[in-house]
């Protein structure tokens, strides 16, 4: 796509654990375009937060590349972050921890302008405008973070990212720490911003129903890899990867009055992933070949899945 803002190519991230190398993200390709919301879903430990952090340069890459507006995203280090990366911003999960409790809201938001070379007064004036844009009164600038609810704090955190006029936002579980009604408000706010400001947004969430509601495309991760990716209604309406099927079936439906389907077993230890398809020990349709064949994404029915059984390499 020509208006791609962020591109991840064959990205891998490793952590060291007790002398072992643990590959938390392994060979992920992902792009997001302006005006597009890409949902990234998966169980805890699947590497989705690590991928989000790598996308903004908070984790060093073990392999692959992240490109923002055509230029390489470098890992945050001792040096000043390159100027062009100001357009790539992150919203964190917990607004109780991501805002400095000892600074006024206006100052927190104005930082973005000051770091960009603007004056403090200028920053504060823009902060007032941004607060209104995220649905808070301009007078909130004179208050401290603790005076606000979780949903309001997340609005403040979002206003802070908007100060730099970003073209791409990465939001890591931005609504998980919030109340049900605040969740809907923040999801609506993010989706409105994407339309108005023509932003690209990667929305990381384990809350599948919200991702389904706002995302244009959805990527499903399992144990460090993307197993299914495509338009949200295509993937959700008719999931083809067995793992996506299990995820969708596990969501309790309002009014259904039936227990959701179970997916036995736990996510394996990423330090010691199963050979072949990483989902095979829990997969209901696994065959012998799944234990050996490494899976690659292949197009099936309008989306891509990493399952050779379903994509034609074996019985359907």
């Amino acid at each position: 796509m020509s208006d791609t803002v962020l591109e991840l190519a064959d990205v891998a991230v490793e952590y060291g654990r007790r002398g072992q190398r643990l590959r938390a993200v392994d060979g992920v390709d992902l792009t997001v375009a302006r005006g597009e919301i890409v949902g990234l879903v998966g169980e805890s430990g699947c590497g989705k937060s690590t991928l989000a952090r790598a996308a903004v340069g908070l984790e060093p890459l073990a392999a692959g590349a992240v490109t923002f507006e055509g230029r390489a995203v470098t890992t945050l280090g001792r040096r000043r972050r390159p100027e062009f990366l100001r357009g790539l911003q992150m919203v964190f999960q917990d607004p109780y921890e991501s805002l400095n409790p000892r600074r006024k809201v206006g100052e927190i938001i104005a930082d973005g302008a000051r770091l960009g070379g603007g004056s403090r007064a200028d920053g504060l004036r823009q902060a007032a405008e941004l607060l209104e844009r995220v649905g808070l009164p301009a007078t909130a600038a004179a208050s401290y973070p603790h005076e606000f609810s979780g949903g309001q704090r997340q609005r403040i955190a979002i206003a802070r990212t908007l100060m730099t006029r970003p073209s791409c936002l990465i939001a890591d579980e931005p609504i998980s720490a919030l109340d049900a009604s605040a969740q809907a408000q923040i999801a609506n706010l993010l989706s409105g911003l994407v339309d108005d400001a023509d932003l690209g947004l990667i929305l990381v969430s384990h809350d599948l129903s919200v991702v389904r509601q706002v995302a244009d495309r959805v990527a499903v991760m399992y144990l460090g890899r993307i197993v299914e990716i495509g338009a949200t209604d295509v993937v959700w309406g008719n999931p083809r990867h067995p793992y996506t099927e299990a995820l969708v079936a596990a969501i309790p439906q309002v009014g259904a009055g039936v227990l959701p389907a179970d997916l036995p077993g736990d996510v394996p230890d990423p330090a010691n992933p199963p050979a072949g398809c990483r989902f095979h020990p829990r997969c209901p349709i696994a065959q012998d070949s799944c234990r050996q064949l490494d899976q690659r994404l292949a197009p099936v029915e309008g989306r891509e899945i990493a399952c050779h059984i379903r994509s034609g390499g074996g019985l359907p």
Partner: protein, 322 residues
């Protein structure tokens, strides 16, 4: 079915800087053996305080009025010692966060056998072998090894299953599960909901599920109580309440959920009142689009509007709604 728990006109006042404030205000409900009952509402609606009052585990200085009867025994008048004989044995609790409900530096085996040795007076060997069986019930692989392990060695989902095993150790007759799956992935959640369902059917255990997730409610609870600002807003059979909500607050909770077909989420405007700042009249009126002048002055009490259906909204604007 037999009635196990009856709560009548329960009111809990908590001390705040500006005097006592009612966190729970006149709640009444009953739970039968083998039944799953749900309590729903936003945070701050008094769900958790209602649950804690059953255990006598309220914050220091809390004032409780009303009656809580478990199998005919009035819990509110028991001494601390008498209550300890009920807690864990008759009623047990699973809280939202398994990271805080399990002791981090005691082995799982010790935590699992504590109830059995105290309440059931089992020997250590007997208790440990039963503990291994419990871990198998909640599907923890290699139970023998798990008994010697510490909470930090397990994932969040496994820790919550262990916390459930601890709660089940003395075979309680009533389990109170406060947001038991909110912090978990959907796949793990599905496993835990199925486990709770099985325990109700096999052991006749009653469960009170507290959650803001109406999908979880729909899957588990036969009857649903919706709370707002410490008061009952609406109660009835879950399927009926979710299909034809009569209280504007219940309607609002449903509208805030993602819908089939991708219609925009409709959040309830505003936020719930904080403790001690509950508005006069109907507590929901400042956020209610159907509010009338009378709603700002008259405090509505739950009225029976149908068999098993209670509603605290006298104007009843959704009565004729399809």
């Amino acid at each position: 079915m037999n009635e196990l728990l009856r709560v009548e006109d329960l009111t809990v006042a908590l001390p705040t800087r500006s005097g006592y404030a009612k966190a729970v205000d006149g709640m009444s409900f009953a739970v039968d053996t083998g039944e799953v009952m749900g309590i729903a509402g936003e945070s701050g609606s008094g769900k958790t305080i209602t649950a804690l009052s059953l255990f006598g585990l309220l914050p220091h200085g809390a004032r409780v009025t009303g009656s809580i009867r478990l199998d005919g025994i009035e819990l509110t008048s028991l001494s601390g010692k008498q209550l300890r004989a009920v807690r864990g044995r008759q009623i047990a609790m699973v809280s939202q966060d398994p990271a805080t409900s399990l002791h981090p530096i005691l082995p799982i085996g010790t935590q699992l056998t504590e109830h059995m040795r105290h309440h059931l007076e089992m020997s250590k060997e007997e208790a440990l072998s039963r503990a291994a069986g419990l871990l198998e019930t909640v599907r923890i692989p290699d139970p023998e090894q798990a008994l010697r392990s510490y909470p930090g060695q397990f994932s969040g989902g496994m820790r919550q299953r262990i916390a459930i095993a601890v709660a089940l150790a003395a075979e309680p007759r009533l389990l109170v599960a406060d947001e038991p799956t909110t912090a978990l992935d959907v796949t793990v959640q599905a496993g835990i909901l199925r486990l709770l369902d099985r325990l109700c059917r096999e052991r006749g255990m009653a469960v009170i599920v507290i959650t803001h997730d109406l999908g979880v409610m729909s899957a588990t609870a036969r009857r649903l109580f919706v709370m707002y600002a410490g008061r009952l807003a609406e109660a009835g059979p879950t399927s009926e309440l979710l299909a034809r909500p009569r209280h504007p607050y219940t309607r609002g909770l449903l509208d805030a959920l993602p819908q089939e077909g991708g219609a925009a989420l409709v959040p309830i405007g505003g936020s719930p009142p904080s403790l001690g700042q509950v508005p006069a009249g109907c507590p929901f009126h400042p956020r209610c689009k159907y509010a009338r002048p009378s709603c700002t002055t008259d405090r509505p009490d739950p009225e029976r509007v149908a068999e098993q259906h209670l509603l605290a909204c006298p104007p009843d604007p959704l009565r004729a709604a399809p």
